[in-house]
Symmetry: C5
Subunit: 103 residues, 5 copies
């Protein structure tokens, strides 16, 4: 899995029937800044995910990829390879809280 | 999943029997421009996808990869690892519409 | 899937029993040249694939990866993660034929 | 699989039900330093893994990815694509022990 | 699949029960040198693989990844995503033998 920030959303009306009603969000994967391990930085890539937990714009989330993205009640048998499975409260690195959703 | 633009097509007559009659399109993955988050830019890679929604040259589409690309009525049991599952109308990032199919 | 050119072959006598008699080819993935969209260029990586269509040295082929590489009569249940499933006749980008097997 | 060092942890209260009670750790993949093959260095990426062996901060671990991350008693059927399956005692390269957990 | 050279081994005593007794080797993926297609060069990455064929330090091997790594008698149902499935005798590129195990 990886950490990512929700950056936006995708609207597609002409799509596979089984995808009707699924919320599609764009996310940017994050990593611990190798230069300053006190913060998370974006890696500059763009993924599209199905949301299973009600995540919103700007939130830090946990993403699962591949066949495992189909291991949720909402996504089983869907043609999806990435899903948001949690909203992140805190990320703690080397005894410091480097991300907190409250900030 | 990821966003991509349809760039062209591939013709292959000598191929696995199960692939007969499948439309194969080339696509270029897109990402939100890290320098200017108001637009999408290509990442310079080339994928070949099976089209399940009638996408055409130049259209922005949604791509699913891996075993999940077989989770459509048209692709199940096929040796394909990438499929177009939707045509994108809009991409909305940080409250702006940065892509619209109408433009 | 991706486009690739067949560059060579691999011989391995000491191998898993189920792999006996499988033709193993080396391929180099190709992409549309971002600087000159009229041609394909190699990306410099080396993959080893099982051939299911009788491809030969120098030919442009279509490669499938992952569990989908096992979705062919020749490869099901084999420990293979990449297979050649077609020989490419033409690649057509933005209304031009940028690759033709006849050339 | 790959070698990684445990760097921290992730707390998520709003998540998929099946993920309740799973310990989520952040790890940094390691590689043999190409310039000095006597040591391991971090590659600067950040993964989130489910821990199945009781790993702790700073430990060197073995990570499995993809559908294989679900092949443990603790993770089967979970939406996880990365799991810690071992704590590393030593890494031995070209007849030298380049990592030992005792040091 | 990809070509790799065996560089070393990993010892882990505290691990998932099902992994007991499995030989874990570190390998470095190889590619045809884009500057000099007469030789293979390392790509500088480090993978850990289960050995199914009795490979040793310094040998050139064939690696399978992902769920396909579980398609061997020794690895089925194991949490492994990479396995050595053959020892390479020769690699032949553009009519030249660029690698031979005898050398």
């Amino acid at each position: 899995m990886f950490l990512a920030r929700v950056t936006g959303s995708v609207v597609s009306t002409q799509k596979l029937d089984s995808m009707t009603g699924r919320k599609l969000l764009t996310v940017e994967p994050m990593r611990i800044d190798p230069q300053n391990r006190d913060r998370l930085i974006g890696v500059g890539r763009t993924f599209v995910c199905v949301d299973t937990v009600g995540a919103g714009q700007g939130e830090m989330v946990l993403i699962v990829q591949g066949s495992s993205a189909r291991m949720t009640p909402e996504t089983e048998k869907l043609p999806v390879d990435a899903a948001i499975i949690g909203i992140v409260d805190t990320v703690n690195v080397e005894s410091k809280t480097i991300f907190s959703a409250r900030d």
